[in-house]
């Protein structure tokens, strides 16, 4: 299992957003390069656990 840091970058893309709650909130369905198995917050950073990348 690898831990991935969610941050600004150019490596992945976000799918089309869909409107929610009178257009105030948007959900972007992100295709991660591997199945997302967990999210942890470590020292204030959000880390996405995804298996099978390496």
């Amino acid at each position: 299992m690898k831990r991935l840091l969610l941050a600004v970058g150019v490596a992945a893309w976000a799918g089309a957003a869909q409107n929610a709650q009178a257009a105030e909130w948007r959900v972007s369905h992100v295709d991660a390069p591997a199945r997302v198995s967990g999210i942890e917050t470590v020292a204030g950073e959000t880390q996405v656990n995804a298996g099978g990348l390496w």
Partner: protein, 276 residues
């Protein structure tokens, strides 16, 4: 941080977390403090509680507190209870400059309760407990600690029985006792049998300067953003493309409230953002 309309992710290999201290609960999270408590963790694994809501039937029989001077104290439970939790939470509940510790204590015959541990005459001990849920196995999961009303009182938000009831309750510790002050229905912050106990997050989502709570609905098909200020209310209910199955993560935006990241049952990642 997220900027602009386009969401992008960088995937970075991060160093493994340090090995937990000797005697710690397997998969225990070591909580670090900024004040008189340096570190705290759950310890003395025991199988005396036949429940397994956190993925195994190994719970903690004690809590270890390491103070800033390096000394350690242990708060050990009697055989009729365990700490059914993965991490102690540090917060200065009474604003006296000293952290208290909030943890889930489960009685083998009476179910879970919320416990507050504080220093008394140089010794850490349990100083308050909420009434246990009444029978073996009903459990609760803390969702966050903050001033949720804006009135200056630090509250403890928890979800009572997040798998079957899903009641988000606000508790406060005043005059030595824990009391429930508000509640909202239809919230889940845990999936039975998993170690993901942080399916809720805190931030000011509506811009009123007061902490709000985001967590899945009881069926985990939506993310609900709720507030206790000025009274219990829903700020938003956002349908998800698939059910939420992971902890929530917050990602700073260049302006406005943070985005919310959550893993979904289809293996993908959803990022929820408030349009400004």
């Amino acid at each position: 941080m997220l900027t602009g309309e386009r969401i992008s992710l960088t995937f970075v290999d991060v160093a493994a977390q340090p090995r937990p201290p000797d005697g710690a609960l397997p998969d225990a999270k070591v909580t670090t403090g900024k004040d008189d408590i340096a570190r705290a963790w759950l310890a003395e694994p025991t199988t005396r509680y036949d429940h397994g809501i956190l993925g195994n039937k190994i719970e903690a029989g004690s809590l270890v507190i390491e103070t800033r001077d390096g000394k350690r104290q242990t708060v050990r439970l009697k055989d009729d209870a365990v700490f059914e939790d993965l991490e102690p939470r540090l917060a200065d509940l009474d604003r006296d400059g000293h952290d208290e510790i909030v943890v889930v204590k489960s009685y083998l015959k009476r179910g879970s309760s919320l416990a507050v541990i504080a220093e008394r005459r140089g010794k850490y001990e349990i100083v308050a407990e909420a009434p246990p849920l009444g029978q073996p196995h009903p459990w609760l999961d803390p969702a966050g600690i903050a001033d949720f009303t804006g009135g200056g009182t630090i509250g403890i938000a928890l979800v009572r029985q997040p798998h079957v009831i899903g009641s988000l309750e606000l508790w406060s510790w005043r005059d030595g006792a824990l009391g429930k002050t508000a509640e909202l229905p239809d919230i889940a912050n845990h999936i039975a049998g998993t170690r993901a106990i942080d399916m809720a997050a805190l931030a000011d989502f509506d811009g009123d300067g007061i902490a709000d709570i985001v967590a899945p609905s009881l069926d985990r098909s939506r993310l609900r953003v709720v507030s206790f200020a000025p009274k219990p209310r829903e700020i938003a209910s956002v349908p998800l493309p698939a059910k939420a199955v992971t902890n929530l993560g917050l990602v700073a935006e260049s302006s406005g409230p943070p985005a919310i990241a959550v893993g979904l049952a289809d293996g993908s990642l959803a990022v929820i953002r408030r349009a400004l």
